[in-house]
Amino acid sequence: MPAHLRPLRITVQVAAALGLLSITLSGEISPPWCAISWTAWVFGLAADRFPQFQARLRSLETAAVAGMVGTLLIDFFAFHNSIFIAVTHFLLLFQIVKLAGEKKRKDCLQIFVFSFFQVLAACTLSVDPWHAAVLLALIPTATAALFWNQMAREYEMAKNDLDAAVSRNYRRMAALMSAAALPLNLVLTVAVFVIIPRLTLNVPVAGFSGNQMGYIDQINLSQKGNLAENAAVVLWLSFPRPAERPTWNGYLRGDVLSDFNGHSWTPSQGRHSRILLPDLNNIFSMGELRRSVRTLRQSITLVDISAGTLFTIGRPLRVVAPLQALQEFEGGSLHWLAARRQPLHYDVLSEPFSIDEVRAEYLALPPVPLDRIRALTNKVAGRGPPLERARRIEQFLQKNYRYSTHLGDRIPDNPVESFLFERRQGPCGHFASAMALMLRLQNIPCRLVAGYLKGEWNEPAQAVVIRERDAHAWVEAYVAGQGWISFDPSPRLVGAEAAGGTSLFHRLNQYSDYFGLLWDRFVIHYDLYSQIRAFESLKGGSGRLGAQLASWWSKMRLQFHHTRQPSREPAETGGAATARRPWKEIGAFLILSLVSGLVLTRRRLAAYDAGLRFYTRFLEGMARIGCSKHPWETGQEFAARLAQTRPDQADQAHRITNQYYRARFSNKKPVLEE
């Protein structure tokens, strides 16, 4: 292998690892794809030992590329994968072929370019702070890869190979550049990131669809299999007034579902809604503030915006959000109207209870057999006021049924009946559905609420982090005279935030989440408004600094003015007040300067002993007679040149140079006489 290709191959192998890591971390590519890619990467390290295989692969490369294009088309059209997934599969396949095959300079460059595109594709597939780390690592790797590629190209053109000395110099240069490129590029990247205006033109481009839906505003009971836990962060909830945090009951409302067809809950078909527009301060008003009702302030950073819903604690009264318009549905659920692709930060003022009206659909029963359920309900609820009956049903479900993420192995015909009498276990949606149906059978108006429950307190961020796995469903029942009251029949951990523990891993995990929040807030969420705010604060800051400087300068001027005119002051002021003269400050400054100067000079003198000074004087003398030392010449070279041009000075020059060398480099310093 030519010497100039070796460092390039190592560098692109690192770049390929970063690309694969990025793809793997995105979690969007299936494990077999990742496994094959990593296997090819490992094989790539030792691929040069199989030249016959590489030659065979090279001859099949064109056919392989055709096959990959075919895979891309099948991925996109037959399997209906998004264009990003299909392109990522294509990139992975290409990378596999390249890593396993012969790696000449162009192949190495292709591997690097594909690695870069893999990082890009991974960033497009999922927006995680991990990608920031990968991008950071990619900068020095890319610097080294591009540098070695160019050097290899130069040597290819010169039809030469690296010699050991030049190779050593190049390695040093590559290391230096990679180390320097990271901070420099970061500074430039931040500058570009901060300055370039966020126009967000949103010109549609054919073939590029929007975000995939993750959260849906309905609860489907006709499912089988298992519910996979998803630890992705959905939102951050913080309380501007920390004292209010204990008053939070742990529920974060999203959509209100009132239509039940026996299999799934959906929002009411004929539900009423109204459009809300913000005032000049971006404040949306939903209702009147009542003095008698306690309100709660909350600040929410919504990371996953796929639902299009504003989650709030209780019923929102005021919302401050950078949105054009909001749509309010029954039960106070809020949706934004315009398409949005970035995380949303908003502040809410809410009250704990909903007071909206009761409608007929809150008592509607599904078209499925309900005899067994009715009998059970009558037995469980007994007689008494609606609230008592509702409590009995809630407690019955909490005590006699088990929470499970297993949905069963078959889809039942009547899911609620199956849950109550056969399976007797299920997720929160089944519990909430069963209770809602039983309440309606008891003629108590009720509805389902989809949202989130509790979450985990994050100490560094001083906020509650809510993940996908915290998604929850519960019931709101209307009790005459008391309004809508929440019931949670699900026997999940209620009343306390998920216990996190104090282990190092847990702390690291918290910091990782916090880093994610910072990433979302300052990188992903950075928009035109943020830019304007940043520049305004910068302007304000510089203005304050300028004002402070001006004030300090005017003080100093005044003091010096007084110092210069000492005789007039007592007369002008009637001798009542004498200006303070800054003799102490001036004296201190002078002493400090003197001491600093002495220290610096002493250091300098210590560095230059007699021999060195003598040599400097010798050089100055030589320069005066027209023989100046060139900056690239060593002392010995200068002495040799001098011996040729001025033979009369040769002995002296050699002697002084030797003394200088001894003074500078030898352990045995010359004595003063020498």
Partner: protein, 337 residues
């Protein structure tokens, strides 16, 4: 010395810029901050590339010098010594432009910071006279090959190219007594000043053999003395040929130079008398170069048929007319009427 600094996109650089523009357009269109980050990184690489490539070229000074003498039609080596201050010079391509020649390229992989490196180029001067280095272009694609940045330097340096030399056949030289006969030298007595050492020929006196040298060289060596060889040869041309074409004239000058060189090689003093100038007999390398430089720069067509050089009266060396020698080589040589 005048410096200009042009910049040119490489093919890779063009793709890179187009890609950066596409990412920028996508970022502005979608408002996706990750695309802004990637755009920032891409632009950052461009800035770093520009800074480093400029540093690699900044402060380069060059000194050109031929290695040995230059002869028309003979391959020659020229050394370019490059000095660099500050940042090291990395992967510098040197493109030199010569008068009457195609541009020549060489590659310097590394110039140390505040140090020097050298590169050599091989060229064949087409004719005698001056070889002029018009300009020099130092370019680099360091560090990433996105751009080719270069410095153009006006040089206007020149070196003298001597006439083309070739070996003259011994017959021609012998005919004029320039080459010693294969017969032995039988002369009375020996001179006092040593002239040359040569191989022993049958019939040479035993006392002439230099035993020490013979032992060293493992063959018999004879020492010839000064008086036996005389005071050298003066080649004389009373006027330049009248009807020669430029090509023939070049050939004629080349013949004179070769003649002079043949005598120099035989360690005899030599001189040259031509219409413009007279070089007295002497045997030294400096004398050879003086004559060659004159022959390199002489323009025979300016002084054709004029200005006959006069021989010094006290000259007692052998005077050899160049014209018969030239004619003996089968060329026609007509003196001007």
């Amino acid at each position: 010395m005048m410096l200009t600094r042009p910049i040119r996109f490489t093919r890779f650089g063009t793709f890179y810029i187009l890609f950066a523009l596409a990412v920028g357009a996508a970022a502005i269109n979608t408002g996706n901050n990750l695309l802004y980050l990637i755009l920032g990184i891409l632009l950052g690489f461009i800035v770093i590339s520009g800074f480093l490539s400029d540093s690699a070229l900044w402060g380069i000074t060059t000194a050109w010098a031929p290695i040995g003498s230059l002869y028309a039609g003979e391959k020659a080596l020229l050394e370019c010594r490059m000095l660099k201050g500050g940042f090291p010079g990395v992967a510098i391509s040197v493109e030199s432009h010569w008068e009457g020649l195609k541009a020549l390229y060489s590659f310097v992989p590394w110039i140390p910071s505040k140090g020097q490196a050298s590169t050599r180029i091989e060229l064949t001067p087409p004719k005698r006279g001056y070889l002029t280095l018009e300009s020099c272009r130092y370019s680099t694609r360091f560090p990433f090959g996105l751009f080719q940045k270069s410095h153009n330097e006006r040089m206007d340096e020149r070196w003298v190219v001597y006439p083309h030399l070739y070996l003259l056949p011994n017959d021609d030289l012998e005919r004029q007594g320039l080459e010693a006969s294969p017969k032995s030298t039988h002369r009375q007595g020996m001179g006092t000043l040593p002239l040359m050492m040569r191989d022993y020929r049958a019939g040479d006196a035993m006392r002439q053999i230099q035993w020490k040298m013979s032992a060293k060289r493992q063959r018999l060596i004879v020492k010839e003395m000064e008086e036996e060889a005389g005071q050298g040869d003066l080649f004389y041309l009373d006027s330049w040929p009248a009807h020669f074409s430029p090509l023939e004239m070049e050939s004629f000058i080349s013949f004179i130079a070769s003649l002079i060189f043949s005598v120099y090689e035989r360690s005899r003093p030599f001189g040259l008398g031509i219409p413009e100038r007279l070089f007295g007999p002497e045997h030294s390398r400096a004398h050879l170069h003086r004559i060659f430089e004159f022959l390199a720069l002489v323009d025979p067509f300016q002084n054709r048929g004029q200005g006959h050089s006069k021989l010094p009266v006290e000259w007692n060396s052998r005077v050899i007319d160049i014209a018969p020698l030239w004619a003996a080589r089968g060329r026609t040589y007509a003196r001007p009427s």
